[in-house]
């Protein structure tokens, strides 16, 4: 007969039902609207409240200044510093890595991305002509540098047609670069074939870090006009930016190398929920550039204008479980089309040269899918593994004497693990397995051992093997001119070009002192290269000059050298960046031996004064070298020691619209130097630049 009171009060279910029925009878305006919007009929107050809460959370932006509630403490946050975003400390990286950050980019005064690599030990940057830079490492380079992998936010911009990156055609603004990580040493294990001598990894700023708008105008001599405009959008979980750029330049004096180019680049990041986000990027470039010489009867390199039309789209889904593990799926497509039209004068017996019209279009497309998983099975272990598939499609009717596209397919599987087996010992090992339609199956392993004698120093021993698959041109070249009675065959590849291989061994040292104010990176390396693709002149009776150029793998070489990098930051106002590289090539081909400059020096000194003034001095020196030209007649030319001194002076200011900066840059205060080829004399360039954030 004793009534148990707790049970009576636990009648919540019944009460809830009554409450719901009661609630349902009188819908308010919010409920009516929401139910129409979502096409849901709310049957209980709890359901409605949940829906309302979620809707509010979705719609709320940071501007709705809500008060702090316990949800700010108990709610979930998206993973931001994820496994892929956390940088490995330099002491633990399997190779020597040079990092060029935003501050350095700004202080250097460079307007073009390719120039930045002058600051990397062992790198050589030259200009084939005013609009065509070549960036190479450890020599062996010609007009194109096919032995470096170049990535922008994980997307390879390597062109399968001739190899290397088309630096002038990239839809990327130097102002949008967060930092560039240059891996010095083969790294096919992580980056695939063509990461032969090293990898250039360009990382753009995350759209969440862009705020407002940005404008930059640079005007200088040699017809330099460079205008950039950027706008950003932050709307709840969506962060995006769009950048527009126009560049005009007359290049070298006495050369036919003007360029006019514009591009647009959009990057966005959408946070789906706490662990998923989608990163998308697309860009388009349109331009025209001049190339060739007036004197071209023998060289087939006549004056012509090349029209560029390029675009790319990239999509990446990332699932960041926590700061140690991440899964990502990435897909991208690069498209590049270049079309050049010109005239070729062909000498005639007993008469002036006849002019023949040349039309040389080429199109390259790269489509790629990659899946990558980073995780840490134990706190002493870090594992990265994944796979991908790629198709390169090249179409160049004149270069290959065929109308269809030539496809190169590549499938890959990679894995890499790092193990801290003791507090002072770190072991890392990885391999890439690749199968491609040109050269078949290949394995590229890598191994590194670190010894950390103290928390600020590390000694590294590493060995790695990489390969480089032939470019479509070296494999399929069939460059043929039919002028009726005159037949020319500048290039004819016999095919069967094998992949080049490199076996690299190195010992490295990384140390930081004085509370991270001084960073030192030293590296000594020994590289053994085999099956190097070489161009040779072979008899071809059909051609009027009797020869053609073929590609074979008859060269081999040994490259030894030493690189040093110093980063000194004594206080917040001064900064010194010093890089030195020494490279020596021994080869069965005397041409290859002369290709790298023996010594390269890059130095950048920056000083910030009071009142927002800052100045920087850049000194770049490369010793003599000669190009690895496919054209036999160019091989003899020796390019002497080149010295260059750049100066930049800048004043920051607060304007009524926002923060701005006015700067003056003079490139090459010293005497003119020969840049890449005897036809190019780099004298003085100067420009004024105004930048404004508004």
């Amino acid at each position: 007969m004793i009534i148990s009171f707790p049970k009576a009060f636990d009648d919540s279910a019944m009460q809830k039902k009554i409450a719901d029925q009661h609630w349902n009878l009188r819908p308010g305006i919010t409920r009516l609207m929401l139910s129409k919007l979502l096409a849901i009929k709310f049957t209980s107050k709890k359901q409605f409240q949940r829906c309302l809460l979620v809707s509010i959370l979705l719609v709320t932006t940071a501007d709705l200044s809500a008060s702090v509630t316990e949800l700010d403490f108990l709610g979930e946050m998206p993973v931001v510093l994820s496994a892929s975003r956390l940088r490995q400390p330099a002491s633990e990286a399997p190779s020597s890595t040079t990092v060029i950050d935003r501050e350095t980019i700004r202080a250097s005064g460079f307007l073009e991305i390719a120039d930045l690599f002058r600051l990397v030990p062992g790198f050589y940057v030259g200009r084939v002509n005013g609009n065509h830079p070549v960036v190479s490492y450890h020599g062996l380079t010609g007009e194109y540098s096919p032995r470096l992998q170049v990535l922008i936010d994980g997307r390879s911009v390597y062109s399968q047609l001739f190899g290397g990156a088309e630096w002038s055609d990239l839809a990327l603004s130097i102002n949008d670069i967060e930092r560039i990580e240059i891996v010095r040493g083969p790294n096919a294990a992580s980056f695939g074939s063509n990461a032969f001598f090293g990898v250039i990894n360009i990382i753009t700023r995350h759209p969440a870090e862009d705020k407002g708008n940005f404008a930059s105008v640079a005007i200088g001599n040699k017809g330099l006009r460079d205008t950039t405009l950027r706008t950003s959008l932050h709307s709840g979980p969506l962060k995006a930016r769009a950048t527009f750029n126009y560049l005009g330049n007359n290049g070298f004096d006495d050369r036919f190398d003007d360029i006019q180019r514009r591009f647009v680049n959009v990057r966005g990041d959408y946070q789906l929920n706490n662990i998923d986000n989608i990163d998308f990027q697309f860009g388009a470039t349109r331009g025209a550039r001049q190339r060739g010489f007036a004197e071209c009867a023998r060289t087939f390199d006549c004056q012509r204008t090349q029209k560029i039309n390029a675009n790319f789209v990239q999509l990446r889904w990332q699932r960041k479980f926590d700061t140690a593990s991440e899964l990502s799926v990435q897909v991208f497509r690069n498209y590049h089309s270049a079309r050049e039209k010109g005239v070729e004068p062909i000498a005639q017996i007993g008469g002036p040269p006849r002019l023949f019209a040349i039309d040389n279009p080429n199109t390259t497309q790269r489509t790629d899918l990659e899946i990558q998983h980073i995780f840490s099975p134990h706190e002493d272990w870090r594992v990265v593994w994944g796979g991908g598939a790629r198709r390169d499609s090249v179409r160049a009717p004149l270069l290959f004497s065929r109308a269809d596209s030539i496809n190169t397919d590549l499938n890959r599987l990679f894995g890499h693990a790092e193990w801290r087996l003791a507090p002072q010992w770190l072991v890392s090992a990885g391999a890439m397995l690749e199968e491609n339609s040109l050269t078949g199956f290949d394995v590229s392993p890598r191994f590194a051992l670190h010894y950390l004698p103290s928390s600020n120093q590390s000694i590294r021993l590493s060995a790695s093997r990489a390969n480089r698959i032939p470019t479509t041109f070296t494999e399929f070249a069939n460059f043929h001119f039919d002028f009726g009675t005159i037949q020319l065959q500048p290039f004819l590849s016999s095919g069967g070009v094998a992949a080049e291989t490199i076996l690299s061994r190195e010992i490295g040292y990384v140390g930081n002192f004085f509370d991270q104010r001084l960073n030192v990176d030293l590296r000594a390396f020994h590289e053994k290269l085999s099956d190097l693709t070489t161009s040779i002149s072979v008899p071809f009776p059909g051609a009027i000059n009797g020869t053609t150029t073929d590609y074979v793998n008859t060269s081999h070489a040994t490259i030894k050298g030493f690189e040093a990098q110093l980063n000194f930051r004594p206080d917040a106002y001064n900064k010194v960046l010093l890089s030195y590289g020494r490279t020596a090539v021994k080869s069965n081909s005397p041409v290859l031996e002369r290709t790298p400059p023996k010594n390269t020096i890059g130095m950048l000194v920056t000083r910030a004064f009071s009142d927002d003034w800052s100045a920087s001095l850049g000194y770049y020196q490369t010793s003599s070298r000669s190009p690895n030209e496919t054209q036999p007649f160019n091989q003899a030319s020796n390019i002497p020691l080149a010295r260059r001194l750049d100066l930049r002076l800048a004043k920051g200011m607060q304007t009524m619209w926002g923060r701005g900066e006015l700067s003056v840059v003079v490139q090459n205060i010293l005497d003119p130097y020969v840049d890449y080829s005897v036809a190019n004399k780099f004298d003085r360039r100067a420009f004024v630049q105004i930048q404004l954030n508004f």
């Binding site: 004793i2 409450a19 108990l74 956390l86 400390p89």
Partner: protein, 330 residues
């Protein structure tokens, strides 16, 4: 003898029996009733029915109800039910109301029945706002905040990141009122404060950069205008770009990329709440303690971020011991 007294004896016996039974029932009933009346009545109100709140509420209820000396009876409901049916369902003689969360605190503080209200899992600024709104009510209002005392946060920074003497803080309109308190706490610890204030979200990154150029680390103070799901990306990325550690105020921040966070789990706050209620139930005439910061706390470290920044950090248990050692004796 048999025939003479049978009628009167029969009536008297039935009445006696009924009376006895009635007295028996009444006695038992009143004992039962008085047993109920002796129990300390607590009303727990939680903000919504989402698992987090229910978990805390259930934890508190189970613990309180299991107490035998004194006996505590718990009545639990969410704010919706309280608002609609509170006056009806609430028993007369409820001794104490406990509110979990900001919404529940607001609703409980607005009840007609002027029972003392004790709020938990509520940020200090939100509680003080409710306190100001209900100033003239004549109700006893107290709380256990969810945020940590500033002195403890500063002490953690000093213990975990020695040598980093300049603490950077970005204030929003709400957290700005803590500036003087923070300044004195930092000064006492022998450190320096580098701060800036932001009023709008698009000025946030600018204020942040200004602070980061002069500070050795960034300390986050709860402010929905500054730190929220949408702004945290830009804040963590920028702070990381400056290679500076970010110290957060919740466990979710460590997962997002903060090197360190000091916080109290709901279970820890519940433990403190249970202690206070049990003490209240024991005392005859009892005043709730003044609003206080959490007594029990946790430290979380993100080892990957520490490694990437090149910061050697003591492990979580060592830091916890260091902090506990410097706590004032309660």
């Amino acid at each position: 003898m048999k025939q003479a007294s049978s009628k009167s004896v029969g009536v008297g016996t039935r009445l006696d029996r009924r009376l006895f039974l009635a007295t028996l029932i009444l006695t038992v009933w009143s004992i039962a009733l008085s047993g109920r009346a002796l129990a300390y009545q607590v009303l727990i109100v939680h903000s919504t029915d989402t698992p987090a709140y229910k978990q805390v509420a259930d934890l508190i209820r189970t613990q309180l109800e299991s107490s035998t000396q004194p006996k505590i009876a718990v009545l639990m409901m969410n704010t919706a039910t309280l608002q609609e049916k509170g006056a009806v369902i609430m028993r007369p003689g409820t001794n104490l109301g406990m509110a979990i969360g900001v919404r529940a605190c607001g609703v409980a503080a607005a009840l007609e029945n002027k029972i003392p209200v004790f709020c938990v899992l509520i940020p200090r600024s939100a509680f003080e706002k409710i306190q100001r709104e209900r100033a003239g009510d004549g109700r006893v209002l107290s709380a256990v905040f969810i945020d940590q005392p500033l002195e403890r946060q500063v002490e953690l920074v000093r213990a975990a990141l020695p040598g980093r003497n300049r603490i950077g803080v970005v204030f929003g309109s709400e957290s700005f009122e803590q500036l003087p308190l923070l300044q004195s706490a930092i000064r006492e610890a022998g450190l320096q404060l580098r701060w800036d204030k932001t009023a709008q979200s698009d000025a946030l990154l600018g204020a942040l950069q200004k602070v980061l150029t002069e500070a050795d680390l960034l300390l986050a103070l709860p402010d929905a205008q500054v730190f929220n799901r949408d702004s945290i990306q830009g804040i963590l990325l920028t702070t990381y770009r400056y290679q500076l550690p970010f110290v957060g105020f919740a466990e979710s921040y460590v997962r997002a990329g903060a090197i360190l966070a000091l916080y109290s789990t709901p279970a820890q706050i519940a433990e403190q709440a249970i202690e206070i209620v049990t003490r209240a139930a024991r005392a005859k005439s009892f005043l709730l303690p003044a609003p206080q910061h959490p007594k029990y706390f946790t430290v979380s470290v993100n080892a990957q971020v520490a490694r990437s920044l090149g910061v050697t950090m003591a492990d979580e248990s060592t830091l916890l011991e260091k902090l506990k050692a410097t706590e004032p004796e309660s």
